[in-house]
């Protein structure tokens, strides 16, 4: 008799999702699915809008990573305009994107995942939150809050708003950077270094105590993809895409936004509103791959900044080839946060950073354009078609969470097979299965959703629909 276990909603994620675990007649886990249960429709309602509105409209997709949508969207518009943006505009955008990456990584690591790491996977769920972290380690809590403020404040300084800044536009940015704002950002750098260093040192100590989780948290060979510079260093805003195979061999390189669809396909499954991206030459689902911090660190040869470079060298020692366990997303996330701070400091020392020429202007010169950028949780591609008046006739977005979708599902199945025993699951098992998804830091929805007030009910049903077991949080 087959049975199912449902985890609904999955907690401490950005958005609403649920997990269903299917048991076979012997009570063994047969399959598992991670469902994203909300539908958005941005690609549809963008149709008919002027292309130059797209960055502002698309930023509303997300309250955590709106900057990445702004940038990918603006770049798609610039492809339609056929313009190259001024150097200073590009540098300022890069800084904005890095600031967002730092604050988003701080949210993911400190607010969502550090409760498990600090208090334990089996700890009281009522304390597995930022209050629990603050009570157990005020120093770590302050570091998390401080790092998030750092990123948010830079976004606010540059874009006048912490969420959905309108500063990034097709052609560049609307305002140059003032000396006062540059100095204000520079003044925050030392504290940000101290906070991320504290977190990295702490994480490296505790990671060894999670060997069991490392073994089964989406720990399998896969492809990896991310943006990279010509010198093979990490990149979040420009550059081109590289894909490596499970052995670390480069199988695609120099993928520009306009070539994206040559390489990446999208499949749909009837149990989720999130699409499943795959590498076309291998087909679906064999061509599933991972994006985000783990993938980015797996594809690059260097970070391009001194402190992060040292941390990358240590990270690469975790495996002979690509680092496979998604548990290591946490480690990669902190290294990227360190890189972000260093790179922001570097950008601010650019002699042209206060230059007033920050925007290029043009009309419609092409009827199709695509743009790509790295969101904190992975690669993001915006692809638009317009009519001769610049009205959007078609849009497609490939977001990071969709690109990680297959790996997340495989990871949930791997963990479920390990932790669900004898048709039963413990609180700790449930948390670990959720924690697999958290390692990817998926962004299932946007700023308008508040997940924290929803109850969590786990139900074990018989094939006849009879409730066999139930846990309520």
């Amino acid at each position: 008799m087959s049975q199912t276990i449902t985890i609904d909603p999955v907690t401490r994620l950005e958005g609403h999702g649920k997990i269903t675990i299917y048991l076979d007649g012997n009570g063994e886990v047969e399959n598992a699915q991670f469902h994203v249960t909300q539908v958005r429709g941005f690609e549809r309602f963008a149709q008919g809008r002027p292309f130059y509105e797209m960055p502002s409209l698309m930023a509303r997709i997300c309250g955590i990573c709106p900057v990445s949508h702004l940038i990918a969207s603006a770049k798609a518009c610039e492809a339609i305009m056929s313009v190259r943006i001024p150097h200073t505009g590009a540098q300022l955008r890069r800084m904005l994107n890095l600031a967002q990456m730092v604050q988003s990584h701080a949210l993911s690591f400190f607010y969502l995942s550090s409760p498990d790491l600090l208090l334990g996977m089996e700890s009281n769920p009522a304390t597995r939150n930022i209050f629990g972290v603050a009570a157990a380690s005020p120093e770590l809590g302050r570091a998390g809050v401080g790092l998030r403020r750092f990123g948010q404040h830079i976004i606010e300084l540059l874009g006048d708003k912490r969420i959905h800044p309108g500063w990034v536009v097709p052609g560049g940015v609307t305002e140059p950077l003032s000396a006062a704002k540059r100095d204000a950002i520079l003044a925050m750098i030392p504290e940000a270094y101290a906070n991320v260093t504290l977190a990295l040192n702490w994480y490296k100590k505790v990671a060894d105590t999670f060997k069991a989780e490392i073994d089964v948290f989406a720990n399998f060979p896969s492809l990896y993809m991310g943006l990279i510079n010509e010198d093979e260093s990490i990149e979040f805003t420009d550059g081109t895409l590289r894909m490596i195979d499970a052995q670390g061999k480069t199988i695609e390189d120099g993928i520009t936004a306009s070539r994206y669809t040559d390489v990446i396909g999208e499949a749909v499954e009837n149990y989720s509103y999130t699409k499943f991206a795959y590498y076309k030459p291998l087909g679906y689902p064999q061509g599933s791959y991972r994006v985000g911090p783990l993938a980015r660190l797996n594809i690059v040869k260097s970070m391009g900044t001194p402190l992060a470079e040292k941390e990358l060298a240590l990270f690469k020692q975790l495996a002979a080839g690509p680092v496979e366990s998604s548990f290591h997303y946490h480690h990669a996330r902190l290294i990227e946060a360190l890189y972000g701070i260093e790179k922001i400091e570097q950008i601010l020392s650019d002699p042209l950073i206060l230059d007033k020429h920050v925007r290029a202007n043009a009309g419609v010169n092409r009827l199709e354009g695509a743009g790509q950028a790295e969101a904190p949780r992975g690669t993001l591609n915006h692809h638009y078609k317009v009519d001769e008046n610049g009205k959007i006739t078609w849009a497609n977005l490939v977001i990071a969470t969709g690109q990680n979708n297959n790996a997340m599902n495989r990871g949930v199945l791997q963990a479920a097979k390990h932790y669900v025993k004898d048709r039963k699951f413990s609180e700790g098992a449930m948390n670990r299965i959720e924690a697999v998804v958290r390692t990817f830091d998926p962004c299932l929805s946007c700023s308008t959703h508040a997940f924290g007030q929803m109850p969590l009910v786990l139900t074990l049903l018989s094939a006849e629909g009879e409730v066999v077991d139930q846990l309520v949080r």
């Binding site: 209050f131 401080g146 003044a187 925050m188």
Partner: protein, 162 residues
């Protein structure tokens, strides 16, 4: 880092696209204008109160929280003292209440404002829309008066009462 150290921090929250939920930001804008020549008063309006604000709250001499209330009668204006005794078991990533912010600030930074008050206005509607319901519209003058009184009280009273 962008740390707010105000004699009186006015901290409002609400969504201006959800009818009466926007009364917090509306009152914050009103306070910004009313107290623009008062250097000790700092007004911050947010969509939601997030954990990062705990640092600003804990380092201010006094705080006036402003929000709409789903529990009060539509248009009812209340000014109450608030203490760091909030429920801290929620997931608390994107939204905290006033008591939780005080509690988190105390835990993380070891300090509290000397006084904290909360001004609430009972919501009649939080449906999509940019206009207030009739009860909330009618209550705005009273809310402004209460807000003025609260700020005067907080600026006058420096003794720790929390």
């Amino acid at each position: 880092m962008n740390l707010t150290r105000a004699r009186c921090l006015i901290l409002a929250c609400g969504n201006t696209l959800r009818s009466d939920d926007g009364v917090g930001p509306w009152l914050a804008a009103w306070a910004q204008e009313r107290f623009r020549d008062e250097p000790g008063v700092l007004v911050v309006s947010r969509h939601q109160w997030t954990p990062e604000l705990a640092q600003d709250v804990s380092s201010s001499e006094s705080v006036l929280f402003i929000d709409c209330s789903a529990e009060s009668a539509p248009g009812a204006v209340q000014l109450l003292a608030v203490s760091p005794t909030g429920e801290t078991q929620a997931l608390a990533t994107h939204h905290l209440d006033a008591a939780q912010l005080l509690a988190l600030g105390r835990t993380l930074y070891g300090s509290l404002p000397a006084n904290a008050l909360q001004l609430t206005i009972g919501a009649g509607s939080t449906e999509l829309g940019e206009e207030f319901s009739a009860p909330v519209r009618a209550a705005l003058p009273i809310a402004c008066l209460k807000l003025e009184e609260a700020v005067a009280l907080l600026l006058r009273n420096k003794e720790r009462s929390l």
